[in-house]
Structures are given as structure tokens and as C-alpha cells.
Amino acid sequence: MDFSLSDDQVLLRDTARTMLAKECPASLVRAHVDDVTVADALWSKLSDFTALGDGPASDLFLFVEETGYVAAPGVFFPTVAMFAPLLQALDHELLPSVLAGEATGTVALAGADGHFVPNDEPVKTFVPEADRVDWVAVVDTGPKVRIIPAGDVALRQTRLVDFSRRHFEVDTANVKSDTLALDPAAFDDVVAHTTGALAAEMVGTSRRLLDMAIAYAKERIQFDVPIGSFQAIQHRLAECSLAVERSIAAVQYAGMTLDASDAERFRAVHVAKAAAGTAAMRATKDAAQVHGGIGYTWEHDLHLYFRRALASEYWLGTARWHHDRLAELLFER
């Protein structure tokens, strides 16, 4: 197994890092709390990278790790990590325009219980960015898919603690549209791809939280020394960084197994999302603790990122949920 990045991958990652540091500062994420249109300018840059929706999972994961690092708001994730893989599995005519960054979309799947599992309920929950994409792909059991213009569905926002990504309830009861059948096995791969991508995004957010905590531990002085010299802080951050590093590696491995269509890929994705969720929760709590009172203020940027980390853990299956799915594979039911 070779985990080394190719030159192209290093270039992709570095390009993403530089671009996003400039285009998606904390001030943009903060402005997005009250004005979601600030994400439009960011999308004009991110839309150069929509072809990743059709490329190797490994490349997409590297890129969205960086969007997670800056808690990028907007339609990139649903369009590229959800809608595009679904279109590709359907061999759908919209795919080229999505990959060209001209059309955007999202996926409506979860029912009332919030689990990302096909059902026949008319109202789908936790549909990201449904009010600002062009298309909503509604998935029912079968799986059967309807690709509907976003303007035709009834929406209701579900407000979450996270302001950087927005979720909606989508009511499609009265929408007439063609139904496309999808091979269940192909759909499992789409879900794995999307879940792996969210895990990748999360490890970026966790890395951001850890970086902020380390930086603060070096600069904050108490008892005449930097707080980072206290062993209690050092050991907390050492354990936190282990959790984050493990999750980064697990995501990379999941991407490799998906690209190879390896038999391990479903296990690997459950491991990746569970490891990412565990690390995200840990990084959230540890970063807040290390920041002391300042981290408890609205003015400090820390919460912009830990809200995103939290929201990602609770979306597409918590660590607990993925451990239980993993157990089904390990115990063969």
C-alpha cells in the first residue's frame, strides 16, 4: 500500500490551500451567518474545481479536506460530492454541465428519522443548500431517482447550530417527474463516495481546530509561561492530534479503496466517517477548553469551525451509527 501523493495531488492540495486561505477567510464564514449571498463569490472560484466530481475519490477527498479547513459555505459539496456521483451512476445527461461548473445540484434522501438510507417518504430531510442549487435529486427506495428543478419543490429550512452549511426539508409530494432506476450496488458506491467525502471535509475542519488550539497554546501566557508548556495541555493536544491524524489517514485509505473498487471499501468508509467524527468531537471540545474564556465568545472565530465540525458529525451518520454498520460487516450481520 502506497500512501504517497503524486506530484499532481500535491499540486492540487497546495493550490486549494492557497486559494481557499485567500477566498474563504473567517470573515466570510462569519458574514455568511446573516447573508448567504457572500458564498457566491467563493463559488465563482470553487466552480473551477467541479470536474473533481468525476475524478478519483482520492483527489476529491484531498480537495474537500481543504474546503473543510476553511468551513467553506455554499453549493460545492452537494454539487460535487453528492449530485455528481449520483448523475454519474445514472449516466445522466446533466453530468457534463455539472462537471463544467455550469449547473448545481443537491441530493434528497433521508426521511423523517434523518438516516441517509432510501425510503418512500414524501418529505426528505437534511437536504443541503436546496434553496440555491439548480437541481434536486430525490432518491426513493429501489433506488428510484427523480431529478427535479429546485424551483419546483417546497422547501423549509431546518436551522442547525452550524451557520456555514444549511439544511432543508424538501417536500416532493406534488412534483411530477420522470423516475430513473438505479442499480442498488451502484447506489451503495455513491453513498460511500459521498460519506467518504464528508469525512474528508471533517478532517480538514478538525485540523483547523487543532491548529488554532496549538497556536493559542504557544501564545497565551499564564503563570509567566505559555500555557502550552503545561503537561496537562500538552497531553490533551497530543491525544487530540493522534485522533486527528488517525482520521486523516483513514480518509486517505478510504479514498484509495474506493478508487480501486476494493472489497474493503465499505468497511473503510465506515471507519473513515467514524474516525473523523470521533476526532471532530474531540477537536471541538479540546480546542474550546484550551482557549478558555475567549473561546466561549461570539467574537472569537473558533466557534465558526467547531459548529461546522459538530454539524458534520451529526450528518450522514454519527460515529456511533457507523460503528454499528461496521459491526454488521465485521460480524456478517
Binding site: D2, S229, A238, A327
Partner: protein, 395 residues
């Protein structure tokens, strides 16, 4: 990044498998306990059983002991990646190279890096296992704070005279030679007055008092030095420059250990699934979740090890490896404890007739205590991660 190895590795792997199929001693098949590593002894309690000595020599003679070394040192000039393939395959088969790691794992790389030509001539026998080595670092007052060691060596013409005591010295009761870390300048700052001497264990004045492990079976020892005379040329590297070598030895120890660590952890987690099945707990939601959680930890750690290896193989430092020792030993300890818990009241039964798998899990549990202490405790690893990987200021 990709899952499969290249052509060069595949050929290498085939040759290795052919060799192992033909030569692996049957003792490994007969339930040799890789996951517990049997506390460095076989069932008979022998520290280095005769069959294991023969096996190590066979590996050496066929160039399979340390594949990266040249043939005269028991290798075949393998690449780093081939070495990884090798370690994986051995671990997958639960085959140990040797029952005494200090000679090939610590002494040889240290002598090759720091030794003079005469000392380098000791390497083949150390790797082949013809000479058993022990490592005299720890003392009653110098454990984690290794640089606080007090065993003195004073220069007397063409000899050093050693006085002092080492403790927890694994293999001391069977070893022919010892790497002894001594204080040669008591007035220098503590890291600056340490030297490394090669000492023959049959030198007059050395007394070895075996100490039993917690497991009762295996041993380490206290080693006492009273006016022990060592030829001055037995010094490795420069006088008072021994600390640099300790850092080297420990690094050598850590670089390859992660593969064995994660493989042992995988074996433990698979074992837990089997125990849950046998105990009728495989449909228990809590048990399933707990075991899946440990699987997640073990497999993400494996990925972290490979990720570190990829940067190491490209010549960069691999901070990932700093995590591996701590994490495999800590998660391993939790997994071993879980194996006992799954057995309820029978968890502590040491009676081979009654307990699960001959009381193997209690044994694992005790063994797992050593892994979070020896070779740098978990607390010391966290200090290292915080200061050297995260760059936090020293306390």
C-alpha cells in the same frame, strides 16, 4: 497513492512466501502466540528456545533476516518498500524473526552507524543470533529520565572500570554481551557525560539476578557491576557522546516496530470477534459496537503507519511514527482488557481447562502493561509528540 504494490515488490513477495512456506518452523503453527508474544519465552519457559535460534540462523543464511542489509549481514539489499512488504508478511503469518530483538534491532544499527571497523565485525553474529545481546540502559534511579543514569566508568590506562547497577535488563541471564550506558564525566551536564561500552557478560565482577515478569514466565534481570574491567577500545563512538547513540538506538527501535504493533492489534481485535461468537455475544448491540470501535481504531492506526512510511520512504521525517508506539500499546491494552470482560466471571480464570483459550486473554492483559511502559512510556511519548511534533514549548 494506490493499494497494490509494484512489480518489484510482487516478485520480492513471491520469493519470500516460497521461502517461508518451505522453512517456517512448525512451532509457529502449533499455536505459538504472536498476539501475546508469549513474553519472549516459549511454553517450556526457555527465554530463547533452540528451535528459535536455528530459525534465526536460517533466515540469516538465506538473506531474510534483515532484508535491507547486504547478504553478508543476513540481507539482500532490499528497498524500504520491500522491507515493509517483508514485515507485513511475517506479521500476517504470525511468525517472529527472533526471540531476542536487542542484537538485531538495537545493537546492529547502532554499531553500523557509530561503531569502528572492529566493532562492526560484531554485527553478523548479532543479526544471526549467534551472540545474544542485552541492553543496559535503565537503572533504579534512571528510567524515563535515562540521562540520569549513575553507573560509573572510570578510565584506568587502557581500561574502563565499571561500578553500578542496571535493572529491567531483558535477556541478561542468557546474553553474551551487553550495551552498557555509563557515566564517564560526573561533572558535565547530565546528557553530556554518558558513554556507551560493549561489555562481555562473563567479565569478572558482573552479577545477574533474574527478576520474573508479572506473568511469572519470562524474565528480565538486575545486573550489578563491581570493578568490572573493560578494554578501553570497547567504547562505541566518542567518550561522553553516548547520549546521541541512545537517541539513535531508540529511533531504530521505533521505525519498524509499528508494523508489528498494528498487526498484533489486528490479531487481538479479530480474536475479540471470535470470543464474542463463542460466548454467544455476537448479537449483543453493545459488544458489537465496542468491538467495531476498536476495529476502527486499529485500522485507522494502520493507515497512519502507512502514511508515515510513505513520507519516510521519500526521505522526509515521519511524525506519524511518533504516534504509533503510544497508540498501538494503549489501544492494545484496552482490547486485551475487553477480551477478559467478554468472559464475565471467567475473565480471570488462569486454569487452562476452564478459561477461554487457556487463559490467554488474562496473559495478554498483563503483557499489555509492559508495552505502555518499556521503551519510553506513553506519558513520555505524549511529551515527545507535544514538543517535537506539535512544537509546544518545553515545560
Amino acid at each position: 497513492m494506490h493499494l497494490a504494490w509494484g512489480e518489484e515488490e510482487v516478485t520480492f513477495h513471491e520469493e519470500l512466501c516460497a521461502f517461508l512456506d518451505e522453512h517456517t518452523p512448525p512451532e509457529f503453527e502449533r499455536g505459538f502466540d504472536y498476539a501475546g508474544e508469549a513474553g519472549d519465552t516459549d511454553e517450556s519457559g526457555e527465554v530463547v528456545p533452540a528451535w528459535a535460534r536455528a530459525w534465526q540462523a536460517t533466515l540469516f543464511d538465506h538473506g531474510w533476516m534483515i532484508p535491507a542489509y547486504p547478504p553478508e549481514l543476513g540481507g539482500r539489499n532490499a528497498t524500504l518498500v520491500q522491507t515493509l512488504v517483508y514485515l507485513e508478511e511475517l506479521a500476517r503469518r504470525r511468525v517472529l524473526r527472533s526471540f531476542h530483538y536487542p542484537g538485531y534491532g538495537i545493537v546492529s544499527p547502532s554499531l553500523l552507524e557509530f561503531g569502528n571497523d572492529e566493532q562492526k565485525r560484531l554485527v553478523p553474529a548479532a543479526v544471526r543470533g549467534d551472540t545474544i545481546w542485552c541492553i543496559g540502559m535503565s537503572e533504579p534511579n534512571a528510567g524515563s529520565d535515562l540521562a540520569g543514569l549513575q553507573t560509573r566508568a572510570t578510565r584506568d590506562g587502557d581500561r574502563f572500570i565499571i561500578n553500578g547497577q542496571k535493572v529491567w535488563t531483558s535477556y541478561a541471564m542468557v546474553a553474551q554481551k551487553c550495551f552498557v550506558y555509563v557515566r564517564t564525566d560526573p561533572d558535565a551536564p547530565k546528557h553530556k557525560g554518558i558513554s556507551l561500552l560493549i561489555v562481555d557478560m562473563d567479565t569478572p565482577g558482573i552479577e545477574v539476578r533474574p527478576l520474573r515478569h508479572l506473568s511469572r514466565a519470562a524474565h528480565f534481570a538486575e545486573v550489578f557491576f563491581t570493578d568490572v574491567e573493560v578494554p578501553a577500545e570497547n567504547i562505541v563512538g566518542e567518550v561522553n557522546d553516548g547520549w546521541r547513540i541512545t537517541q539513535g538506538s531508540l529511533a531504530h527501535e521505533r521505525a519498524g516496530l509499528w508494523v508489528e504493533g498494528v498487526c498484533r492489534l489486528d490479531a487481538t481485535v479479530s480474536g475479540l470477534i471470535e470470543v464474542a461468537r463463542r460466548r454467544g455475544l455476537d448479537q449483543d448491540a453493545a459488544v458489537r459496537r465496542d468491538i467495531a470501535t476498536m476495529y476502527e481504531q486499529a485500522s485507522s492506526l494502520r493507515a497512519l503507519g502507512y502514511k508515515g512510511f510513505a513520507s519516510f520512504a521519500q526521505g522526509s521525517s515521519a511524525p506519524e511514527h511518533s504516534y504509533m508506539k503510544m497508540a498501538t500499546s494503549e489501544i492494545g491494552k484496552a482490547a486485551c482488557e475487553y477480551g477478559m470482560q467478554l468472559q464475565g466471571a471467567y475473565g480471570l480464570v488462569a486454569d487452562p481447562e476452564r478459561g477461554e483459550e487457556n487463559g490467554r486473554w488474562t496473559n495478554y492483559f498483563f503483557m499489555s502493561f509492559a508495552n505502555t511502559i518499556a521503551g519510553g512510556s506513553s506519558e513520555i511519548q505524549r511529551n515527545i509528540i507535544a514538543q517535537r511534533v506539535l512544537g509546544l514549548p518545553r515545560s
